[in-house]
Amino acid sequence: MKPVIGLEVHIELKTRSKMFCGCSADYFGKKPNTHTCPVCLGLPGALPVPNKKAIEWCVMLGMALNCKIPHFSKFDRKNYFYPDLPKGYQISQYDEPFCVNGSIKLSTGKKIRIRRVHMEEDTAKLVHELGNQKSTRSTSSGQEIKNQKDEGYSLIDFNRSGVPLAEIVTEPDFDDAKDVKEYLQKIQQIARYLEISNADMEKGDMRLEPNISLSKDGKLPSYKIEVKNINSFRFVEKAIEFEIRRQTEILQKGQTPIQETRGWDEAKQKTISQRTKEEASDYRYFPEPDIPPIRWAKSQISNLKSQMRELPKEKFKRFKKDYELSDYDTEILTRETTIADYFEDAVRIGKNKNIDAKKIAKFIMNRKPSIEEVLPAKLVRNIESATTYVNINEEEIKITVKKVLKNNSQAVEDFKKGKTQALQYLVGSVMRALKGKVDPRVVIEAIENELK
């Protein structure tokens, strides 16, 4: 039996304002219900107006995932009742999303097809409290199971309501948890490279919903299990492996797993049934009448493309070529843009001091300097002092100095008259003769001693 796995990933965009109103989208850790207005509270008569930057970022994300960008796109209403959804529907995209038919290549060479990347709004945050015994268990989807029968109530904070989300949907192209993890790391890296999201899973910036089934004959199975509440790369692997085991047992008994949504329970190390999956038609999608459609001119798309930051794959290629680094070194130095930028700043400074990129790369990888504390210029100075005093004894320096002074009597005269440039010239000559492997301060000292 072969696992058939598809993925939905939600990326919360770090725009200033929400998707359809001007409220601040920066809700994490803020006082509840202080980022709301008639639009994101779903009050009657409020008019949603889409955030241009969020749409552009969604399109950039799609382009980074090799998607086609249709020239026409629109928003739709996805209808369902849940207290975290004040309007009774979520503004999303149904049949005409911003980006379609992309793909991403894994390190094994395997290609994962991206079905679509679309734009939607986040829901409010639900907090559940049980009687007096506080159990503030908030979830991103609010669909956490609760078995206790205590009298309780739920609380709603609308600060997150309407925050822009880009949803990336793959075809069911994965067959193991390892590939899923690599794919997710790539998505996270791309979102961070594009600077459209922090993609921090623990903060809920990036949320995953794998759907998993098992195929007996290579065909697409008749059911699929969606798993929610996964907020780390580690959990996604565990949840997928658990589901494969669970479904194998059911199928081996000659039964078919029930199509449903399950949640990962880290404490119990298993997935737990949450609700039976509604059919897509039950959401009664229809075009959002309050928001006119989007039509792109070709020039707008090419303009956005030119504004895109360098992507991980491009940076990797460029680093390898320009700095002649190994695959391994390049991989580590381009994992995050902060490290890549730090390295390149140091290379620029090092160039004036004849310190090559490879040496800087090795130094960063071996010493792992704190990027915040050791500025690139300081790093280059550290490399300089670490690479001097190599295998040159004082005697050799002394002999070389004597020789240089003898051959450059004019410069010696000039120096004695107080011309500092002459000293520089002499130091340079000594350094060259010693192939540069010596601290200039030592050379200056030796020259001064000799001329005393």
Binding site: S17, C23, T36, C37, H128, I145, I156, I294
Partner: protein
């Protein structure tokens, strides 16, 4: 087309009595057959659309506007607690 009133009521989150089910089933079927009259019209050469304003690309810049204060946001709530809307437990 025939309406499945039980399904529609469930989706709309409305509890219906047996009498109401019968009543609304009849009414909704009437609405459906009325709308079905549109099928009589020849729309062969008419471009498909789902909106009538003709507007396109209405967006706004990513700029913050002033929000409700917390007490304003909560002012129409039946119950609230710790700055949040309080509702019957949902699990």
């Amino acid at each position: 087309m025939k309406i499945n009133v039980k399904h529609v009521a469930k989706l709309a989150n409305l509890p219906l009595s047996n009498e109401e089910e019968k009543k609304f089933e009849k009414q909704l079927n009437e609405v459906l057959s009325y709308v079905e009259k549109l099928n009589e019209k020849d729309v062969e050469n008419i471009e498909e659309t789902n909106q009538t304003t003709g507007l396109e690309n209405v967006t706004r810049e990513d700029i913050n506007t002033i929000c409700f204060a917390q007490d304003e946001a909560l002012s129409n709530s039946k119950k609230n607690h710790n700055g949040m809307f309080k509702i019957p437990k949902i699990f």
